[in-house]
């Protein structure tokens, strides 16, 4: 029985055969969470003065990290939703953890807009409630748009993930040997019986959610870009920012899913479920996206050249000024590192792919830094020209959210089937169904 792929996915959760490697990884991730807690505590006690941000650099690591994480979240959601909608046969092993990665990334992203407020404990002021001081949120402000975008993203991603999980939670409830497992999974499964009526409505709702995720992530990523595009900063005030953010976000999300897929496959021993073919397809998607990204960079230069003196000056400063190493690093990381994926040998090697995935993510992070900080380097007024350097508190926030993401991912692979059991059963063939024939 245990040889069946979908049993394997459930057995990981029920039998809890996790060794020292999981514990060591989780301990390291918890260390990161601790760093995050300290970085937040310092911010709450001493205020944003502990950061290196100062006029003209009103935004730095806070918004860089936010844009970076939200890009990962959006792209991972988009991948999962596209797989469900396409009905791709190889989707079953990827979409569950792509959704999980999206959910955890958006949780990390959601912290930053709150933290960057200066008085973060008043963040509820962006919600339109009838307050005693009788002032409403400014609905023409991207900060308020962003609040709704993040809230919606968290709710919809969580629903998408949970609805897909319900049948698997019921399967775990039915297979759990311990009382605690039966009670916990039973409560979470909500009394799912696998009735034909249940399945009919479940599959419909699941596909509707997937269909909603696609426009959501495109609108959400565009809303993030509006934070920049609606200002008058020469480097930011551009209509093309929305598609640019979608493309570059897609790159980081695909790279993150690739890294997570390789780690899940190796650490959980799921070589039969996450096959070489899956890895190969994600790697090729990443490569295709990197080509689009290269075109975007070229287009950016072309537009700056056409857009007049300010924009051209600002663009030249980016590639030759003090931010030049970062700009070239961003291009090398995003477009450059992905070029290795043209070679089949790289696509077959897990360490090489993880290296490419990490480099691409680092490249996209640098790209955000160049947009957020580099964009403010040459504003219209020479009086607002200056430089910026981060403090340890800001670096702590970045390291801390990476730790938080890893900790949540590690808990996810341990307590939730990382691969959809019922879909694997239907697709790979299990008791009572022929492989590949959806009954």
């Amino acid at each position: 029985m245990a040889a069946l792929p979908h049993h394997e996915a459930g057995a990981i959760v029920l039998e809890q055969r996790f060794g020292w490697r999981w514990a060591a990884g989780f301990a390291a991730a918890l260390g990161g969470v601790l760093v995050l807690a300290v970085a937040c505590a310092g911010l709450f006690v001493w205020g944003v003065g502990v950061w290196g941000t100062n006029v003209p650099y009103v935004w730095a690591f806070d918004i860089i990290n936010y844009v970076w994480w939200i890009g990962i979240a959006n792209a991972a959601s988009l991948l999962a939703a596209a797989l469900v909608l396409r009905g791709a046969r190889w989707r079953t092993s990827i979409n569950r953890f792509a959704e999980a990665a999206a959910l955890f990334a958006v949780l990390c992203a959601g912290l930053f807009p709150i933290l960057h407020l200066g008085r973060p404990w008043l963040f509820h002021w962006v919600f339109p409630y009838p307050a005693t001081f009788e002032v409403w949120p400014q609905f023409r402000s991207p900060l308020v748009w962003d609040f709704f975008a993040i809230l919606t993203h968290i709710v919809v991603t969580a629903l998408f993930w949970y609805v897909g999980l319900i049948p698997d939670l019921a399967a775990l409830r039915d297979r759990a040997r311990t009382r605690r497992g039966q009670v916990v999974f039973g409560a979470l499964a909500l009394g799912w019986r696998g009735s034909a009526r249940h399945w009919l409505n479940h599959q419909k709702a699941y596909r509707i959610l997937a269909a909603l995720v696609v426009p959501l992530v495109v609108f959400m990523q565009s809303t993030v870009s509006f934070e920049f595009a609606v200002t008058v900063v020469p480097d930011w005030h551009r209509a093309r920012f929305a598609p640019y953010f979608v493309v570059s976000g897609l790159l980081s999300g695909l790279a993150m899913v690739l890294v997570v897929a390789l780690l899940v496959r190796t650490l959980l021993g799921l070589h039969e479920l996450v096959t070489r073919r899956h890895i190969d397809i994600i790697a090729k998607l990443l490569l295709a996206n990197a080509v689009v990204m290269a075109w975007s960079y070229g287009f950016e230069g072309f537009v700056a050249w056409q857009a007049g003196e300010h924009a051209w000056h600002s663009a030249l400063e980016k590639v030759t000024g003090p931010f030049a190493p970062l700009t070239w690093g961003a291009m090398l990381g995003t477009v450059g590192a992905a070029q290795a994926l043209w070679f089949a040998r790289v696509r077959r090697s897990a360490p090489a792919l993880i290296a490419v995935g990490v480099l691409v993510n680092a490249g996209v992070w640098l790209d955000r830094l160049v947009i957020v900080v580099g964009g403010l380097y040459r504003d219209h007024l020479p009086s607002s020209w200056g430089t910026y350097g981060p403090t340890w508190w800001e670096a702590g926030l970045l390291a801390g959210t990476i730790g938080l993401f890893c900790a949540l991912m590690l808990l996810f692979v341990r307590f939730v089937p990382a691969i959809s059991m019922f879909e694997t059963h239907a697709e790979h063939g299990g008791p009572g169904v022929r492989p590949g024939v959806r009954p």
Binding site: P128, E134, V135, W136, P137, Q138, F139, R140, V144, W145, F148, L151, T152, V155, V156, L159, V163, I166, P167, A170, A171, R173, D174, R175, G186, A187, L190, G191, W192, R193, G194, S195, A196, R197, H198, W199, L200, N201, H202, Q203, K204, A205, I208, L209, L212, P215, L216, F219, M220, S222, T223, F226, F422, H425, A426, G430, P431, G432, V433, P439
Partner: protein, 182 residues
């Protein structure tokens, strides 16, 4: 009020999705209407034998649409009312009802409304959460999420008659037939 029948119904256990569908077809042709199949994977071919489902085909998508219109429209109305009526703020003589800047929140709230409505409607149609159900009394029903396929005829079916229905189920050559107590 009529007396409650002695059992919830009868279930037959099969070992494959195809046999479950074939059995459902036979019972449906015999006139049984309150039947339901239980399977570890979605079995779409069972849909024609579920009474009332054909009429509810569009309920979920329509609920999602209604949710989108309600929350998106409500969100837009709230933005217009707060920004142009209740607390008008003149910034450089720009129009108070500046609809383009109200669109991002409106669209995103519409998507939120659709998603929440779709999931809540799915729960309502499936009557979830439902911690207790008579079917869980069957000692082998837990296999419905693993390797077994069940067909249940409820005693509420007008054609249900314990002995005759049991014979009808046994004629389908299932692995076993059992009565489901309340």
């Amino acid at each position: 009020m009529t007396a409650r029948p002695p059992a919830y119904g009868l279930i037959a256990q099969f070992d494959s999705a195809d046999r479950l569908v074939a059995a459902a077809r036979v019972l449906h042709r015999a006139g049984y209407r309150r039947i339901d199949g239980f399977s570890p994977v979605p079995v779409e071919d069972l849909a024609p034998y579920l009474p009332g489902e054909a009429g509810r085909r569009w309920l979920l998508p329509l609920a999602a649409l209604a949710g989108a219109l309600a929350l998106g429209g409500g969100g837009y109305a709230l933005q217009v009312w707060t920004s142009a009526v209740d607390y008008p703020l003149n910034v450089g003589g720009r129009p108070l009802h500046s609809w383009p800047s109200f669109l991002p929140a409106t669209i995103i709230l519409g998507i939120l409304g659709a998603a929440v409505a779709a999931v809540l409607t799915m729960f309502a149609l499936n009557r979830l959460p439902e911690p207790y159900h008579p079917l869980f009394n069957d000692p082998r029903f837990h296999r419905a999420s693993g390797d077994a396929y069940f067909l249940c005829v409820e005693s509420a079916d007008p054609l249900f008659e314990a002995r005759r229905t049991r014979r009808a189920l046994e004629d389908l050559r299932p692995d076993r037939v059992a009565e489901v107590p309340w």
